[in-house]
């Protein structure tokens, strides 16, 4: 029985006996883990926000460890990736996307510099082994993730070195050899990875043999053959396909001589070629592309699919671009090209959701050139892949790369990929599927929703300028020196502070600060949901303030009933 105190005084904090949680009638706050758009957009499957969170705490090595949980080659992707993460970044609308790309590179380089160890343990000696065809980014990534998952990996590489396209087709001005070698060496040296060079599929090994001897066979051969170029009329004898030309240049450091060149295509190879040609002394280099340059009114789907920075630099270097056009016909004088007929076109919606190209009669014009280089893509070399190649590619059934029993495809060879990051991501995905299937389960896709900019509360983010990486002046750009520089540790740490932590806990204390009911409890250790905060539902009245003032959208109000039945 409660006994009345004299003068009806009360003891401190006794209101805790009065549980106001039953005032909550409609909604309660929950911590969601939405995907940040960078993460959702990252072909390599990186959780940028997670490693930025570590950087915000000043922990660079931890940040790198979180990064390489998805992508073992940040030093490479930090140089060559077209960073769709930055295009997706919710900060873009605020004061410019995060310089994720530059920070990634800095972390990759720091790891090499300090010899930070990859967060992997040596797999057991009798662990299942996967066979991987090709030591390009996809194959290497797959090997790495295999080891991370307790498997062993044997890579069969046709060439004498690892790296694939990274080595053969990406100019050193973008990816210096030292940076590439440093990361690849560390990766290939990981316990459980066995790289065998000069092992050519169809000659030295066969898919069937490998399949018989391994837990799985992963095909990551890349695309080595150019597509036939369909132009009307004659094609010159010394016709050069873009990728082949680029590889040749990478090996020999020389281009066939020309004064005016048209590069026909819309990918990174095309841009790389344009810039190298220009730098090698070609007077006029013109890119003819069916796509458009990025602009305020450009449909994102129509934008030329290249690393934005590379395009920017190409324009700086006075590479000319003809948008929404294609090369229709070559004008020949004998076996020599004297011009190209260009026609305007547009990609319009076609049947089955696919884009259809429509060229406009009457827009044809002839441009004076002495060389035209098609860069219209490559396909899989079918050698040793009897019966697996369909319409130029391996075309697996699903995102996991499944081609058949214990047989997977990844990287460019799939036919629906085009970047290093995608290949790296495939490596992780394929291994994820293999690991799950070895355990008798099916792999699960990440079904989380993505946090759009509209889900954030921008009030709480101070406007901070984006970090700018140093660049070589145009006149100093050569064939060997890297054009884009390192942003450095200070800028990296400052840039890290710009991460909005979309859809995940920023640990900003807002919920804790703004709860009028003290129903948000801050914890020293991380709570089970990965945040530092707990909702004390004994006292939460469901006002929704925490959700409204959560900068990142991490707190959402959910119907009481739905929560109970969830």
């Amino acid at each position: 029985m409660t006994i009345l105190t004299r003068g009806a005084y009360g003891e401190p904090g006794t209101s805790l006996a009065f549980k106001t949680g039953n005032w909550r009638s409609t909604e309660r706050p929950v911590h969601i883990h939405a995907k940040a758009p960078c993460h959702a957009a990252c072909p390599a499957g990186e959780d940028q926000q997670a490693w930025f969170a570590k950087l915000q705490e000043g922990k660079a090595e931890e940040a790198w460890r979180v990064l390489v949980a998805a992508n073992p080659m940040p030093g490479v992707t930090g140089r060559v990736c077209p960073h769709p993460c930055e295009s997706a970044c919710n900060r873009a609308a605020l004061d410019g996307a995060l310089a994720i790309h530059n920070v990634e590179r800095w972390l990759g380089d720091e790891a090499v510099k300090h010899g930070w160890a990859y967060p992997v343990d040596a797999p057991a000696a009798d662990a299942p082994t996967v066979a991987i065809i090709g030591a390009g980014p996809g194959g290497l990534s797959a090997a790495y993730h295999a080891v991370r998952n307790g498997l062993r990996a044997t890579i069969y590489e046709a060439g004498p070195e690892a790296g694939g396209l990274l080595r053969s087709a990406i100019p050193r001005t973008r990816l210096p050899r030292e940076a590439l070698d440093a990361e690849l060496e560390r990766l290939c040296a990981l316990p459980g990875i066995d790289v065998r060079f000069r092992q050519r599929l169809g000659r030295d090994v066969s898919v069937e043999e490998l399949r018989a001897e391994h837990a799985a066979v992963l095909l990551a051969p890349g695309c080595q053959e150019g597509w036939e170029w369909s132009v009307s009329g004659a094609v010159p004898a010394d016709h050069h396909e873009g990728l082949a030309l680029l590889k040749e240049f990478m090996d020999h450091g020389q281009f066939p001589s020309a004064r005016r060149v048209i590069v026909h295509g819309g990918g990174n190879t095309a841009i790389d070629l344009c810039r190298l040609l220009k730098r090698s002394g070609v007077e006029e280099v013109t890119l003819v592309t069916a796509s458009a340059l990025p602009g305020p009114d450009t449909d994102p789907a129509d934008v030329i699919n290249v690393v934005p920075r590379e395009l920017e630099e190409a324009l700086e270097e006075e590479v000319a671009v003809i948008e929404h056009a294609t090369v229709n016909r070559l004008v020949m004088r004998g076996s020599r090209i004297t011009g190209a007929e260009i026609v305007s076109l547009k990609k319009v919606p076609g049947p089955g959701g696919r884009k259809k190209r429509v060229s406009f009669e009457g827009t044809e014009r002839v441009v004076e050139v002495d060389m035209v280089i098609p860069c219209i893509g490559e396909r899989v070399d079918p050698e040793g892949l009897n019966g697996l190649v369909k319409r130029g590619y391996l075309r697996p059934d699903d995102a996991w790369g499944t081609l058949g029993e214990k047989l997977y495809a990844l990287g460019d060879a799939r036919g629906d990929r085009g970047t290093v990051a995608e290949a790296i991501g495939d490596g992780a995905r394929v291994i994820g599927a293999i690991t799950a299937r070895l355990a008798g389960a099916e792999p699960l896709a990440d079904g989380r929703a993505e946090m759009p900019a509209s889900g954030l509360n921008p009030t709480y983010y101070e406007r901070l300028p984006k970090a700018k990486a140093p660049k070589l002046p145009i006149e100093d750009r050569t064939f060997d020196t890297e054009i884009e520089g390192d942003i450095g540790g200070t800028a990296t740490m400052a840039e890290a502070q710009r991460c909005l932590s979309c859809g995940d806990c920023l640990a900003c204390d807002n919920c804790w600060t703004f709860c009028p009911d003290n129903a948000v409890i801050k914890t020293v250790e991380l709570a089970r949901d990965g945040s530092h905060y707990l909702f004390d539902l004994d006292f939460c009245k469901g006002c929704g303030l925490c959700a409204a003032e959560c900068p990142t959208g991490y707190i959402q109000m959910q119907p009481e009933f739905a929560v109970e039945t969830a």
Binding site: T14, F514, P516, D517, T523, G542, C543, G544, A548
Partner: protein
């Protein structure tokens, strides 16, 4: 002279981390007990969902406590925190009457002086107990120079009795005693300029704060706590029930009040304006009015509605001009910078609350 041993003891008891690492941490504490802040106002109080006043009081006490005592005027804060036998307070606290919080605080302070103790005395009142019925006692307390921090939780009407107008109710707002009708567009009179009156007492420190800017609010509390003499703080504390806005919008509405200029955040020392929080991007008054039902009649087809909206806009413009609230570019102390947070609660760039000084 602060009694360190005693303070340490209080902190150990009520949840603030031990001051010195040498002190052993108490064993086996619940997460609530281990909160890294002083839990001066505990859960289990009976404020409405999204109560701005509950929040403001919690923010004040958690940075003022634990070595304080409070005289609380009658009002929502008093009623919802202390329904016998359950008290939400973890600081010595007394409620006497509606109109005498300042006088009761004066008495507490006199007693502390008489006994040679340093416990700081706080007085809490709503706008009714401060702008109106308790105004005389407050003036007396300031004039007598008691070492008391008076905090007015301004929710702009008598909310405890069910939303009746006070002299702090803004012009044109509806309350149950200033309803809108065929003859009237809500409150006919203006919101009392209390800060000027308080500042005219020539006291060391007078300031306004808002629940939307908790770091700024707590900086002002800490500053006032350090003053040996009277200090006055008015905290704009939205009342979802009385202002008729969604409970989740309490902070949003409070922020907009500041950003439109209707509730300027200023500091005055000895009657002189010494500091303001500049508005980074001044927003139209309508942004502030729109979410609130008490201003709903200002968005009707009535011809007078536009006129009253213009009037409120003019009042906001007046504040912006008189207090010089226009920001100069990006300032860590302006409304944008002051709101900023980052990981671990800190704003990403040196936002230590150092505000712009008025020269």
């Amino acid at each position: 002279m602060v009694d360190d041993a005693r303070l340490a003891d209080l902190r150990r008891k009520f949840g603030r981390a031990p001051a010195a690492p040498s002190e052993p941490a108490p064993a086996k504490r619940t997460p609530r007990e281990a909160q890294p802040r002083f839990r001066g106002l505990e859960s289990g109080h009976r404020a409405c969902q999204g109560c701005g006043e509950a929040l403001a009081a919690r923010l004040v006490v958690e940075c003022a406590g634990p070595d304080v005592m409070i005289a609380n005027a009658t009002g929502c804060l008093e009623v919802f925190t202390t329904a016998w036998p359950e008290s939400a307070w973890r600081v010595p606290w007394a409620h006497s009457l509606f109109e005498n919080a300042a006088a009761v605080a004066s008495g507490m302070e006199a007693a502390m002086k008489a006994k040679g103790r340093n416990t700081k005395v706080l007085a809490f009142g709503g706008d009714g107990g401060t702008y109106d019925i308790g105004f005389q006692a407050l003036s007396g307390m300031l004039e007598r120079y008691h070492n008391v921090l008076y905090v007015c939780y301004d929710n702009e009407a008598y909310m405890n009795t069910g939303i009746q107008r006070s002299s702090s109710t803004p012009h044109a707002a509806t309350t149950t005693t200033s309803p809108a009708g065929k003859e009237r567009m809500g409150k006919r009179h203006l919101k009392k300029d209390l800060l000027s009156i308080i500042a005219a007492h020539h006291i060391p420190y007078t300031a306004s704060a808002s629940v939307a800017f908790p770091q700024d609010l707590q900086r002002k509390v800490r500053h006032a706590m350090g003053i040996d003499g009277p200090a006055f703080l008015v905290v704009h504390s939205p009342c979802p029930l009385g202002w008729r806005h969604d409970s989740r919008l309490t902070i949003d509405v409070a922020r907009k009040a500041v950003e439109c200029g209707l509730f300027p955040l200023v500091e005055l020392e000895r009657g002189a304006l010494t500091n303001v929080m500049p508005i980074r991007e001044v927003r139209p008054v309508a942004d502030y009015l729109k979410p609130q039902g008490r201003f709903a009649h200002l968005f009707s087809d009535d011809v007078r509605a536009q006129e009253e909206r213009d009037h409120l806009q003019a009042l906001a413009d007046y504040n912006i001009q008189v207090y010089g609230l226009t920001g100069e570019g990006q300032d860590p102390a302006d409304t944008g910078g002051a709101a900023a947070v980052g990981r671990s609660g800190r704003a990403p760039r040196g936002n230590d609350g150092a505000a712009r000084r008025v020269s």
